[in-house]
């Protein structure tokens, strides 16, 4: 199974990287610079939050780095693999083997039950699951007794936790989460963030999370601020209030 996966983790300490990334939409007067020359390294084993006003390019940054979208110019890497040089098929493989996702909504395949949804990336790749790890993650996320349920039988918070479990159980090189708590109540989002935090602390999982919520960003090791497609600021282990103030300043 290891033979299938591209040799991604060769450089220790670096999970992903973007170099002078630009992503333009439209042309002429309608041109929008969603990403306007972003360069950044994301060290492994850290929980990074990306914040910024609506339309600042957060989702675009994440999608380009995750191999869901392509840069107009510039380069991105997952580990040592330069995605910008790969074919669609190869990128799919990288996503399958090295990347985990948690989206804001609609994270689960409705025909599969929770267990199958969690196993989906592993099953697609034909990889075996680490059963102990699986049990631990699903227990921590309090979904171990919901594994046989279909998504339609789960609450919104449970669905997000199943999605998180899917990302975490596969132990990808990096997890991208785009407003994963956007549709959750405060208790559910706190639980989800706790588990993400735990994965970083206990297993050195790398997570990149977009959020609007300073309360969520507070759980991150580092908060990066984006505006008009550029990184404008960053904060190490910030307090909620500090983030709040910074956001205020940007508006």
């Amino acid at each position: 199974m290891a033979t299938e996966a591209p040799p991604v983790a060769a450089t220790p300490g670096l999970a992903a990287r973007i170099e002078d990334g630009r992503r333009l939409y439209g042309t002429g007067d309608n041109e929008v610079r969603a990403l306007d020359g972003v360069t950044r390294e994301f060290p492994a084993g850290r929980f990074t939050a990306i914040m910024g006003p609506s339309g600042s390019g957060k989702s675009t940054l994440m999608q380009c780095m995750a191999g869901l979208d392509r840069l107009t110019s510039g380069q991105t890497w997952i580990g040592d693999t330069e995605l910008t040089a790969l074919s669609e098929n190869a990128i799919t493989k990288v996503r399958r083997d090295n990347v985990g996702f948690i989206f804001q909504a609609f994270n689960l395949v409705p025909t599969l039950d929770a267990r199958e949804n969690i196993m989906l990336p592993l099953d697609i790749a034909g990889r075996d699951v680490d059963q102990e790890w699986f049990d631990k993650v699903t227990t921590d996320l309090r979904i171990h007794d919901r594994l046989d349920h279909r998504p339609s039988q789960l609450s919104g918070g449970q669905q997000q936790r199943v999605a998180a479990a899917r990302a975490i159980v596969a132990r990808p090189q990096i997890i991208f989460a785009d407003e994963p708590t956007g549709q959750l109540d405060s208790r559910s989002s706190a639980e989800l963030l706790q588990v993400m935090r735990g994965a970083v602390d206990e297993f050195g999982q790398t997570i990149l999370m977009v959020t609007h919520d300073p309360g969520a960003a507070r759980h991150a090791d580092l908060v990066i601020f984006l505006m008009d497609g550029k990184i404008v600021d960053e904060m190490e282990r910030p307090t909620q209030d500090a983030i709040f103030d910074r956001m205020k300043a940007m508006d």
Binding site: L68, T92, T111, L120, D123
Partner: protein
Amino acid sequence: MVFKQARRNLLSNKLRLFLTSLAVVLGVGFVTGSIVLADTINKSFSNIFNVENSQSAVQVRGKAVVSESDRKPVPADVLEKVRRVPGVRAAEGTILGQAQVVDAEGKAVGGGGAPTMGFNWYDGPTNPMQMVEGNPPRENNEVVLDTETAKKAGVPVGGEVTVVTDVGPAKYRLSGTAKFGKTGQAGGATLAFFTLDTAKRVFTSSGRFATLDVAADPGVSDTKLAADVQKVLPAGFEAVTATQANEEVANQFQSFIDIFRNVLLVFAGIALFVGAFIIFNAFQITIAQRGRQIGLLRAQGASSRQIMGSVILEALMVGIVASLLGVAFGIVVAWALQQLFNAVGADLPDQSLVITTGAIISGLIVGILVTLLSAVGPAYRSSRVSPMSALHPAPVGPTSRWRIALAIAMAVAGVAMVLWGTFGDMDTAPRSTLLALGSIILFFGAAALTQYVASPLANGIGRLFGPRGGRMPLRLGRRNAMRHPHRTAQTAAALTIGVALVTAVSIFASSLHKTFVGSIEDRLHADVVAFAQGSGGFTVAADDVVLKVPQITDVLVSRTAAFRDEKGAQWVSGVVPDRVDEVYDAGVEEGSLGDLASPDTVAVSRDRADSMNLKVGSMLPMTFASTGEKPRRVVAIFKDSTFGNYFMSNEQIDANSTQLRNQGIFAKAAPGVSPDEAKEAVKKALASFPSVEVYTRQGYIDLIGNQVNQLLAMFYLLLAMAIFIAVFGIILTLALSVFERTREIGLLRAVGLSRRGTRAMIRWEAVIVALIGALVGLVVGTFLGVVAVKAFPDLTAIGIPWLSMIAFVIVAALFGVLAAILPARRAAKLNVLEAIASE
């Protein structure tokens, strides 16, 4: 508001519009095509019967005591009497016989279904022929052929041509060519004209005429003349106006064309029925997909009637546009069918397509009605969508008990109606209505029941391909097929219909094959058999030749004649009483075929004997055209009806029939001669009778098998359209599902399902749906096929074509793969980001 909504919905998904329309277009095309083709054939033949250059006013003929085509010939002295009737300008008698024209290579010209006819030539106003080149036959060794036949035979005027008549082959000088009626076409028939003397000599009519044609003096009306001529006729003959006679022929032909057209229409109806399933399904799915949107409209105050109206209107628009296209396509279908029938040797006369307003209007009405009817259910459903669905898309409700009960009731009612229609005692019209209705209800019931087994079936089939769930795409495909059982069932149902009919037909054919080949293998002891191409039989002149072949013994030349008994017009086959048992075991149960040597005797099959309550020694009244009614003693009752239900001695047949024709030759190889040698010897001896085909016993068995297969192939072809449409139905459902699952597919792609895996997932779903359709179709088809076989007492064996049935399943799976190509490509091409972002 309603109209705008309907139009916007229509255009919102062009693929759906295209595929639903296609189902209507194909169905309507087939319907219109059938009507146009029938009209065209009709027109071309009515041109032929429209004999404008004949001035014949009245026709004299024997009364139709047996059938329209088998009448008592008119004796020569009647012609003299008719000529003396005041008002008769001219009267001529037509001698009619079979004349096979042979080309330079010794091959038969024409034939193969179309008649090969010989006449006496006469001059005068009643002759429907027009000389084209050369002169009418004046010498007894001269002949005139129709231009087409002369061309096919490759003889120039003045050249020599061989014609086989009742006295055998002879060479004639082609004195000229002529054309028939206005168009010169005779529907593939070959026409040969001799002098009166020659005609009398070469045809077994003993100088009697088939008909007399009478022309009127100026000022004498046809009806008046007919009445006057009637007065001088002996009993058993009638004088009718030529117009009436022509109309009768045309009507007879018309009823044949009607049968042909109705058969085509049945298949067109099947195609349309399948199309209706697809339209229904398409509307059902889109309304489910639009649940939210409809809920929103309702929440904003749209009434349920407005919602229903917009769906109906949408269907109406689809129906009108697609039916218009369908009618246009129908013309193409008619043309293609015309070419197809010609390619298999039907030799339809040249005629540009006849497109009547009736055909166009029928196509339009049928198409629009079917579309509307298919949309009524979904439209009603849409009107039931509550305003709440804007907030919570309603989950598929649990299946209520009475729905299952209804499905079972429909299936049972369908089965009962089919059984009743098959075995009940009734007329053709109510019987066919009952059968058609029963089959339709049965299909609806089967489709409705499929809903409840679709999930377990999909599960089972999916697991067959991957024992422990298989790889991810298979697993996802299986789950998708299980996801909306009613949708899966309806999609599969379209294919079910096709597979069921194909299965039924192949069971029927296989039983036909088994029965006939089986009884021939068991009962035919002849080593050599000979038959003519087509149904016209062949000349009795062949007898002498065959009887002299030393390589064969126990030669039985079988004659045939038409007669009428209480059951209607029948055929009796002639045998040589003391020889028949040597070559053919009829399975005599009572009496003996040897007793047929006594005068006025007949042997009857068990089936007929039972239905007419006959035993050995009973008297059976039989009416022949030339000799009238006479009771005949039943001397034997036999089981096997392969070669007919009635046997008489050849002598008896010769004494009673209007035209002596041979039906077949049966013989054993002489001691020490192999069947092949015997066959070759007979073939060589009959070389100058090119319409006769000689077979060994095995060759004959193979021939029957091939004929059954050809029949089967034709049915397959006619059902192909229905299956074709069903495949479109699968494409449509898949495409709609892909559209519906855009986000889900995006998600799968995001977490690493490759494009290839995505395609495989869709493909598996299609294969599973197709297999469900095929399996249910096999079950329904086996039922229908077995019932159909049971309906024919002549079919004594039931053949279940296992190999074909397995092949159907495989082909169905392949159709699934085929149907998945486009939707799968669409799914694989989805832009992951947009898919995830889509609402």
